[in-house]
């Protein structure tokens, strides 16, 4: 069933490969990627160090020192790994859609926290309150985590509030809820950021002292709901 999606496998440097299903933000393809990721997690390929799922690709880091000449039969280690991966993919029949959780995220969209709201309103011609309404009225899929520990790439947001990246990244406070293009995300840590900040959540997106480490996982469904400043500070504790 996985093979209903066409894919290619290409090198990512000399010690990793990427299984690519195309340059797409597509929920069904993303589900296939996550399914494949879970499969590799529970049954790693020989020599695999880790697998990294993204929007529409899955990369595999492997340890070249694990492969002895006698099994290679003249192939490079990478050719061997690609061949083994293809064989494995051909054997995959059904997609086990991992259980998806629904996570509700409280957001304070106050001007003090949504520092770019006015800019977004000006650029899109959409009224500030409408931006907030459009952001919190739909649910979003977490496509992948990356960029920072616990940073979730979520989509897809309403086209009317699509914004390009900032030309220059600006300092961002942890918990900042942001948008760019078709995506929305939450900065888990202080960082320079190129996305537009429209609010802030008191929740911790990344906590190294917890077992789960991150609040969100790829495959989760996320909704946002507005809270007041008072509620924000209460929840922050």
């Amino acid at each position: 069933m996985l093979l209903q999606y066409s894919y290619s496998i290409f090198p990512l440097g000399d010690s990793a490969i990427t299984i690519d299903f195309g340059n797409k933000v597509d929920e069904e393809i993303n589900k296939a990627v996550l399914d494949l990721f879970q499969t590799f997690k529970s049954k790693p390929l020989y020599g695999m160090i880790e697998a990294i799922p993204a929007y529409s690709s899955l990369s595999i880091y492997y340890d070249p020192s694990r492969f002895k000449k006698n099994i290679l039969r003249g192939k490079t280690i990478q050719e061997y790994v690609i061949d083994e991966t293809e064989i494995f993919l051909e054997q995959q029949t059904s997609i086990v859609v991992p259980e998806s959780r629904i996570v509700k995220i409280p957001v304070c969209y106050d001007d003090e926290f949504g520092v770019d709201l006015n800019k977004v309103a000006k650029a899109t011609g959409v009224d500030k309150n409408e931006i907030i309404q459009l952001h919190q009225e739909r649910s979003y899929r977490v496509y992948m985590l990356g960029f920072l520990p616990g940073f979730s790439y979520m989509g897809k947001i309403d086209e009317r509030i699509a914004m390009p990246r900032k030309a220059q990244p600006e300092a961002v406070v942890p918990g900042s809820v942001a948008i760019v293009g078709q995506q929305t995300g939450i900065y888990p840590l202080a960082s320079p950021g190129g996305w537009h900040i429209i609010g802030r959540t008191p929740l911790k997106l990344f906590d190294p002292n917890t077992e789960n480490l991150t609040l969100l996982n790829a495959g989760d469904t996320v909704t946002f709901h507005p809270i007041t400043k008072e509620e924000f500070f209460n929840l922050l504790a």
């Binding site: 000399d14 993204a54 985590l145 790439y153 840590l189």
Partner: protein, 329 residues
Amino acid sequence: MSIRIIKAGVLDSLQDMGRYGWQYLGINPTGAMDKFSSKVANMLVGNDPDEATMEIHFPASIFLFEQTAMIALEGADFFASVNGEPIPSSHPCIVNKNTLLQLQQPSNGARTYLSVKGGFATEEWLGSYSTNLKAGVGGYNGRSLRKNDQVFFRKKNDFSSLLGEKDFMILPWHTDLKWEEDEEKEIFVLPGHEWERLTKRSKDNFLSTSFMITRQSDRMGYRLNNIPLEMISEEEMVSSAVSFGTIQLLPDGRLIILMADHQTAGGYPRVAHIITAHHFKAAQLKAGDEIYFRMTDQRTAEELLMRQQQHLLQLQNACSFKLEEFFNQ
């Protein structure tokens, strides 16, 4: 049992071979920039090569040994001295209690690695002792070292009987296996997935010109000051995994080489990848240095890596033998 920071360096942190297995959560691997030198530093004192070492930049910290220790420095030569007397890098060395280790500006290279026999006792997080500076976890309290920090050793080694009144003792063997010995200035690369999208002129440019490492360079990546490169087609890419040594093309046409603190994924075109066997060469470049790229193939990349690993193994065996001999005398 410890080393104390008397004066803080600009960026000294504990690093090992990196934290793998968690990139799916956006947790970037970090680890030593020059993993080769870190391994050699460990081997010289008989440690597991993957043990955490102190990655040191210039200006470096001033260190006080609160206990005798066997140490080694490997990487760029920082003209180290113990209580004012020079000690060579690439040699194991025993230092006495209450001695000061000072380092100067290297004439060549960017960073050096300090190992201690038995290893440093530091914070492990998700199977690695590397400091994740961004997340603030791992290594020494998740940050670079500051004045008065006390970094403990995992083992108490008492070498006072060997030293007597001496401040230090240099052990009579060393390794020639170092990054500086590599004559080839060029850094080998393999084409990235988006290499073919570069215009012919840009491809030629990439392979025939040298580029300078700008000051906007750090553990996360090196920004190069190349003439802007161009793509045949501009296509926005969705984010996908990248790795140490991946060379990306930024919107302004400039290149960035991803290094140890690289993010797990990115959406910029991947023009090329530095081969693993040459990561250590790239790691010893600093702002102002020139970098030259040469395209190679996968087979060569694998052979060079294997050869490097074999040399390291030979070195490890030689060091174990020498150390055993030394302690049995």
